[in-house]
């Protein structure tokens, strides 16, 4: 008997049937189906350092801060923690301090909107910038799938800009801007991750950052800088200034996340939007205030309880996440070295396998001489017991891709070894199969 049906997916917004949205689902599902597989797929942070006692402590630290530092009365503290609150958030001043301490970004706390993770920050920015059907977004490719998915939900086309080894191909960026404009379209911004990007792992050098900002000025383009991984260089290299730190002309909308540095379970991120917006009544305000209006109709405000946890964590380390993540940063750097060394051992000179050696972050891209798709991932999980992410998920077309992304953030060195052994078996078998097929042909 046919199951009763109330709706058809064709009656819903087309995004729900889009590869960008189904991709995230597929990757989560496959991880759920093979819980015993070693996961070099998950980009989530290392969880061994999380601590239940810290949750309680952070809450109390923030509560005391409201009373002692901000001078709130007991009734005001109560209201801040428990009631509906300020749309732009209640830890904005601590976020501003963190940006000053760790990133030398100087920003008015009023230009910050605290959001439900960085994803909501992205969503609010895209909603604001997509004013009509002529608007398009540029994004350095390969692109974080959450950006593509959010754009789909808002009917905002995303046009790829070549990334390449420098992190962004400026000639291509300029060409894409001009091509879009020549087609009667309005490129609203270019989205990119200048530091240890997801998924490519590449970083943009300092000189190139300056040239990018110059280009943005010349072409009158906004840049959306997403920086979830900047705190995680692999060695004792000096961290580069963010685009936002180099941006007196307010070309950059900066997206931040506490998921990788404090706690994904809090779901707290933010956007710095200090652009000055002229209203229809002639007044001039901040883009942050326009984003807050949008936020008030998406989630009203970010959970005060969750913000309190993040606020407490910041306060306990003088608002420095560099200070707060000493153990995490060491673990990620060690894992990244371990993975790269492990690849070199398993795929010695002469092997057709290639990989990136990023200067930091969570991700290494491995290129192989065969197509890497969801079917191969499924087989890798089932038969070899190792999970990774097909790079095809990060390209907004269906062209075949011969690369996969490995993540080092949620594993131990032992798990990396085990995962790489299994990956090497898969690759060897695929190469043998390819050679056998070539022999037959």
């Amino acid at each position: 008997m046919a199951e009763p049906v109330d709706l058809h997916v064709a009656d819903l917004h087309p995004a729900v049937d889009d590869p960008a949205l189904n991709s995230m689902n597929f990757l989560n599902e496959i991880a759920g189906h093979y819980p015993e597989a070693v996961s070099l797929a998950a980009g989530r942070p290392y969880e061994e350092f999380f601590d239940v006692a810290a949750l309680h402590r952070h809450l109390d630290t923030f509560r005391r801060h409201l009373a002692d530092d901000l001078g709130q009365s007991p009734a005001q503290v109560h209201r801040t923690l428990f009631q509906y609150g300020r749309t732009k958030g209640i830890v904005h001043h601590l976020v501003a301090r963190n940006l000053a301490v760790d990133e030398r970004i100087s920003v008015d706390p009023e230009a910050i909107v605290v959001t439900v993770g960085c994803q909501e920050a992205m969503f609010l920015v895209l909603r604001a910038l997509r004013a009509g059907p002529r608007d398009v977004l540029l994004a350095v490719t390969p692109t974080y799938v959450g950006l593509t998915g959010a754009a789909r939900l808002l009917d905002l086309p995303v046009r790829p800009v070549a990334g390449g080894p420098a992190g962004v191909d400026l000639a291509d960026l300029r060409a894409q801007v001009r091509r879009a404009r020549a087609a009667g379209l309005r490129p609203r911004a270019c989205y990119l991750m200048p530091d240890f990007a997801n998924p490519s792992g590449t970083s943009i050098g300092l000189a190139e950052r300056r040239r990018l900002l110059d280009l943005a000025g010349e072409e009158d383009l906004l840049l959306v800088e997403d920086n979830p991984y900047g705190l995680f260089p692999a060695g004792d290299v000096e961290r580069l200034p963010t685009l936002k730190a180099l941006d007196p002309a307010r070309r950059v909308i900066y997206l931040g996340s506490f998921a990788k540095t404090v706690l994904p379970g809090a779901r707290v991120g933010y956007v710095v939007a200090d652009q000055r917006v002229a209203g229809s009544d002639g007044t001039v305000g901040l883009l942050a205030d326009q984003l807050a209006k949008i936020k008030s109709m998406v989630t009203v405000n970010t959970s005060a309880v969750a913000q309190a946890v993040i606020g407490g964590a910041l306060l306990e380390h003088g608002c420095s996440l560099v200070a707060a993540t000493v153990r995490e940063r060491a673990a990620y750097a060690r894992n990244l070295r371990h993975l790269v060394d492990g690849l070199a051992r398993r795929f010695p000179a002469g092997s057709p396998v290639r990989w990136t050696v990023p200067a930091g972050g969570f991700f290494v891209v491995v290129t192989v001489p065969f197509r890497v798709d969801d079917a191969l991932l499924d087989r890798s999980a089932r038969e070899y017991g190792v999970l990774w992410t097909p790079m095809a998920h990060f390209y907004d077309d269906s062209a075949p891709v011969d690369a996969l992304r490995l993540s080092v953030s949620a594993v131990t060195p032992e798990q990396i070894d085990l995962g790489l052994d299994r990956l090497a078996s898969l690759v060897a078998d695929e190469l043998a199969r390819r050679d056998a097929t070539a022999g037959v042909a």
Copy 2:
């Protein structure tokens, strides 16, 4: 010197300059400007019963539940509380139990999506249902401004359906459905609050609920039932079954909130979406899973910390919010009686002032023989020291309205007395001014 400008509001999505989004902002701002005024405007819950110790206790209760009741290992508990998590939430089973215990709604926990407050639930539903430019939403008027604002963000027109004393005018609903269809439009759903609606305070009777469901079946229309106030009848009356409890045909998408019953600061709500959706590949799934795909690109998932607080609160009361809110319900019922009695004393027989006597909830609508607008509210706050909400904010046009909404949820009986005295002065002065003007004319 002119201030530098980076963007113009006309370059942003038109919603940011829409009255529906500016309305919420204006009302918040005026409350901020006159903190000493008695607020009969705020619809937020009574905060005296909130308790910091309870936050910690709820967290611990939920943590123990994960281990003891769900059998999670310490590592799994860790992951559930701290990591990225299930898109549809981690307290869905407790929400389902709550709906069974308090509302006699029997629903598969998999059909529930836990959201960042009810606002996100609303937003996800509207995003899913707005598939193209022919789609429109119907909403019983006067309408909660958060619904109108969310629809604006999604370019989804909202067409009003008369509410009237019965809570919904079924003849008008049918007429609006047919009118929209005759105009080539597709009415996707009708939004309404059957219990003690915001802002009207009206409730729909049991017979009318059944007729509404029949009509939805006949006209092939979904109903979006929003129920933030159902738990708060003013006296010892029996609560009516929700539409969802009367809905074997899955016509109803049900929106729930813990903001009024547990804690606004957690920002946790949910949607029950058990409609069966046929996919493009022929498989049949739940609407909840389509909403989850959308959610994954808006907020990823709802803060685990915030969900844990709500989960703990539910567990401590056998998942019954009726049991959890004994003190709150008594306070709201007392306040509502006090307000209605106070109106009767201040505006005796012969007065042109009229008001509703709702059977529960937070809101009373007062009708006066003069126009009630934002200018009057500003004067009321500045000169009389009392805040309320112009009913004009709940109508999606700019027609003059002669009514205001009073809320009893965040005040004491003493504050109600003081607020009503001040309101009575304002009304007396307005009537005198009107008479004086009439005398001159």
